[in-house]
């Protein structure tokens, strides 16, 4: 407990020191900019800064910037208004955010998708690395929680995205992995099973905004069981991912 308190105090001290930093300044170029009391459209405007005055930019929360005026007033300015200010060298202040262009040039992608695996709920976390604009390698871990058993899947697959520059970009996947099934404890005399699986799938990625994408896919699995007959599974999933 005492250690925790010490850590908090140190953290506060470090953050208090950070306040003494020199912040970048921008010059108001519109007739005025509005200072809100909080980082959101609904928060009331309590102060305006006139054209020609400088403000210090302290921090950013989503699309809101906390600024300090020469008179020491601090408030939150929307991104739209900040983009109409000038830097001290006279250029328009520009904030670089990821766009559709970055989507087609992404290197890494991390996401969470959920859906149905043979009728049972499934949740998957995956990571992908783009080998080229059209081809990426993915590793995923899934948990299937069925009524009679729960399974864990680890999969590796290649993903081919023929139109990587489209906002609605279809893809095809091909891969293999392992499924470990544990029967529910209320069912006795059934043992755990571990099988290899291969799968093929089709899906779509939709670029949403900033670094976010929506992903929906269908996969067909074939499980190579120790019995003579192979099992087939169908999987439908959708979810969100972000890239960087």
């Amino acid at each position: 407990m005492r250690v925790g308190l010490l850590v908090i105090l140190l953290l506060m001290a470090a953050l208090a020191n950070a306040d003494e930093d020199v912040y970048p300044e921008v010059k108001v170029a519109d007739p005025y900019i509005e200072l809100h009391v909080g980082p959101g459209t609904g928060y009331p405007i309590f102060y305006v800064v006139d054209r020609g005055d400088f403000v210090e930019v302290i921090k950013r929360k989503t699309d809101w910037f906390k600024v300090r005026t020469a008179k020491g007033k601090t408030g939150w300015v929307s991104r739209t208004q900040m983009e109409k200010t000038l830097t001290p060298s006279g250029e328009v202040t520009a904030f670089s955010d990821a766009g559709l262009g970055d989507f087609s040039q992404r290197r890494w992608e991390i996401g969470l998708v959920g859906g149905s695996f043979n009728g049972a709920p499934v949740m998957t976390a995956y990571g992908a690395y783009a080998l080229s604009a059209n081809l990426s390698a993915e590793v995923s871990a899934s948990q299937v929680t069925g009524d009679f058993s729960s399974s864990e899947l680890v999969n590796f697959n290649l993903l081919l995205q023929p139109f990587s520059k489209w906002r609605y970009s279809p893809f095809f996947t091909l891969g293999a992995g392992q499924i470990t099934s544990r029967p529910s404890v209320t069912l006795i005399q059934v043992r755990d099973s571990q099988d290899l699986v291969a799968h093929a799938g089709v899906g779509i990625k939709v670029y949403l905004t900033r670094r976010f994408i929506f992903r929906a896919e269908y996969k067909n699995y074939v499980g190579f069981t120790s019995n003579d007959d192979n099992k087939e599974f169908e999987e439908w999933k959708a979810g969100f991912a972000f890239f960087f």
């Binding site: 970048p24 921008v26 009391v37 959101g40 921090k59 929360k61 989503t62 670089s96 949740m123 929680t145």
Partner: protein, 224 residues
């Protein structure tokens, strides 16, 4: 005689060289002063502007939030116990955020176990309940709270829903969660949370049934 003439001749040459040297030095000195004048003139007309550039991407962003929380988790049929957990959130816009959570709680004996006095239904290990989930939150009612005359704090009432997994009695159970919370920002980077959630999952220990497991927690979070 001849030697004396030679001396005179040499002295003349020496004098000439000296004059040449002196005049050249004078000329170069002149050039130097002229040069200084030019420099002075240039400085006079030079604008005294300090060129500063700002790195807009260096502005500190505070869109991530990590939190620790503790409170009560009521497991249907298995009593209400203390829960402890952690959450991480990413604020996409001023209204929407994504959140991932992990928490742990113990469960007590069921009424049946207590009354019958028989063998316990579950072992100690099986009694432990852990859950994880991923949810989407929406800041429904952002606002301000006032304390006395001189203090105003930003707050938000949010609604949240998501899916996840609950591990209890050696089984994984798909879990849907939904609820509402209140975020009170003591400073820009430190917030206090109160959260009320319902975790719904199917339990087959006493025949198949859908259980509602209510959770009430408080915690604090740091934005970075």
């Amino acid at each position: 005689m001849e030697g004396r003439l030679r001396v005179l001749f040499l002295m003349n040459i020496l004098r000439g060289m000296c004059m040449l040297l002196v005049s050249s030095m004078a000329w170069s000195a002149d050039a130097v002063t002229n040069g200084n004048n030019d420099a002075v003139q240039q400085q006079v007309i030079q604008p005294q502007i300090e060129r500063r550039t700002i790195d807009v991407d260096a502005i500190d962003t505070e869109d991530f939030e990590i939190a620790v929380f503790s409170g009560l988790y009521s497991t249907e049929d298995f009593g209400t116990n203390m829960v402890i957990g952690a959450r991480a959130a990413y604020h996409v816009t001023e209204t929407v955020f994504f959140e991932a959570a992990y928490a742990k709680t113990d469960t007590s004996e069921t009424s049946y176990e207590l009354l019958s006095g028989g063998a316990p239904l579950l072992s100690d290990n099986q009694r432990e309940l852990t859950y994880y989930n991923a949810s989407i939150g929406y800041n429904l009612l952002p606002g301000e709270a006032f304390m006395g005359k001189g203090w105003a704090f930003n707050t938000a009432l949010y609604v949240i829903a998501g899916v996840g997994n609950t591990n209890f009695a050696d089984d994984d159970r798909f879990t849907v969660n939904f609820g509402a919370g209140y975020r009170f920002l003591a400073t820009d980077w430190l917030a206090i949370h109160l959260d009320m959630r319902n975790h719904i999952f199917k339990m087959d220990l006493f025949g198949d049934k859908t259980t509602n497991n209510l959770e009430f927690t408080g915690g604090f979070s740091v934005f970075f």
